[in-house]
Symmetry: C2
Subunit: 304 residues, 2 copies
């Protein structure tokens, strides 16, 4: 099984009440691929500049991630994001965005990346997501993430992109904004009417809810006393979710999706314990499975 992700590869500068980093590896495709690498073969597609060194490649390659489709753009700099979080850690405030190599990014997928079993379209401009989706005709399952910016400035493209995937992962505030529906169940139904058979509403520290036709499942965020940096939590969730589906499920049914929600929750929880990719880069499969068990026991209740 194999999984291709297209998204940003970045350097991040992040300040939280618990510390800061001036320049660390980040980006949606990076967080996604690290999380999914515990379950399946992962290929990353995205551009980097001259400043992206072997040290950065090593973080991915040490996890067995295939970096052949990372495009090095000579004479240019890697995408850069600077942001901070306040007291409650729930909202990222952007202080600076330098698109750099991402400004002219035209995704070119190798034959191997195109013929992966699954595809994740991380949060990039929806027309680029559609372009990638079109290149991967035979994919068995495609997921998509997005953000409020594209709802504001490219809503029609985004709706078209959503109609071409199997699963949409989106923040709960964004799905309300997109659909104009305050009720989450109705908002999810409106997105499923576009085509996807699964919608995941990400709810930050409250966890995530999965909507399928006629089905509902929800998990709380894994309770942590020390959350240091929420950056990449959503992409780590998506990585655990699609990685598990691709690598360890014979078929995608309700139970597989629920287990995948569990792995997504676990990967997101490890991601936020430290800055950037620090924690997930040295994570082990045993740690993942032991936290999944803990999560299961935190959500089970029996008959009286």
């Amino acid at each position: 099984m194999s999984l291709t992700v297209v998204g940003s590869i970045a350097f991040d500068a992040v300040h939280t009440p618990f510390g800061e980093r001036e320049k660390m590896l980040g980006g949606s495709a990076v967080h996604f691929s690290l999380a999914s690498s515990f379950f399946t073969e992962v290929r990353v597609v995205g551009p980097v500049g001259d400043d992206f060194a072997q040290t950065e490649f090593d973080v991915l390659e040490n996890r067995g991630i295939i970096t052949d489709d990372i495009e090095r753009v000579a004479g240019a700099q890697t995408f850069f994001w600077k942001g901070h979080y306040e007291f409650d850690l729930n909202t990222a405030h952007t202080d600076d965005t330098q698109l750099n190599v991402f400004g002219d990014f035209e995704p070119k997928l190798s034959e191997q990346s195109k013929s992966s079993d699954m595809l994740f379209l991380a949060n990039i401009q929806p027309d680029l997501q559609r372009q990638v989706r079109a290149q991967c005709g035979d994919i068995s399952f495609a997921g998509l993430d997005t953000m409020n910016l594209w709802i504001d400035i490219a809503k029609d493209s985004l709706l078209a992109a959503m109609s071409e995937v199997d699963c949409v992962l989106i923040n709960d505030a964004e799905i309300r904004q997109l659909t104009g529906e305050s009720n989450l169940a109705r908002a999810a139904k409106a997105v499923m009417e576009l085509g996807p058979s699964a919608v995941i509403a990400k709810q930050g520290e409250y966890g995530a809810a999965l909507f399928t036709p006629g089905g509902f499942f929800a998990l709380p965020g894994f309770p942590l006393e020390d959350v240091r940096d929420p950056t990449g939590a959503g992409d780590s969730f998506a990585g655990g979710f699609l990685g598990y589906l691709d690598g360890e499920c014979d078929r995608i049914d309700e139970n597989a999706l629920r287990m995948a929600m569990g792995y997504g929750t676990v990967l997101a929880s490890y991601n936020v314990e430290e800055f950037g990719t620090e924690r997930v880069a040295r994570l082990t499969r045993d740690e993942i499975d032991s936290r999944l068990e803990a999560l299961r026991s935190m959500t089970a209740f029996d008959g009286g």
Copy 2:
């Protein structure tokens, strides 16, 4: 088994995007007692005015609730609250509060009410909560709810009141405000250090989280496509929670608390489907158990 609740008995005027009521039965003790009446014998303590008619008593008495300790204050009016909800239904905006009989309320409990097995101190001034708690010396389990107002103007009394109960139910924004701790797990631990052995953080549509020493459990809100009036959801949750513990549990252990969280979630979900007490007043135990089963199936996930 028997359960006493002290709190407000009110008339509410409520406007939501889905309708409005000019004057309907409400109040924390009313919502709590209706919800708990499905599980155990419930006694309500609180004052009403001349405008509180047999029609209102009937709503409680039809559910078997014992109203002997409802104090009728001659020549005065019942507590009145007017509020509205906007698009997202998450925040109540208060438009008017008339304390009326509640302004001079001095809780006087009958011997029967004092000797109940369990006690719920609904959201009233914390010194009054302490007064009631002191009258009920032999209670086996006491729960307490509160609101941001008391954190603002009577924080020391509130902390003292919390130290005298077994379980605190509180909104997650309020527990953060109270403890100055943005992290929910740490905030709950700080409250447990005051004395309570269980803390429930109510999270609106996201559900509720239960913290016990070394334990964590969370349930999502029951997904509903039609939420008409959130007023009383928290008190209905508390009623399902304590009602089940009092009426149907031999001992209060982790599993009993989790089941009680399930019943709380179910009662809150029925409460918000219609205005005020309308839905819960005609609810059946079969409906409760069938929704509990649905909730269980929405939160379970199995091995791969």
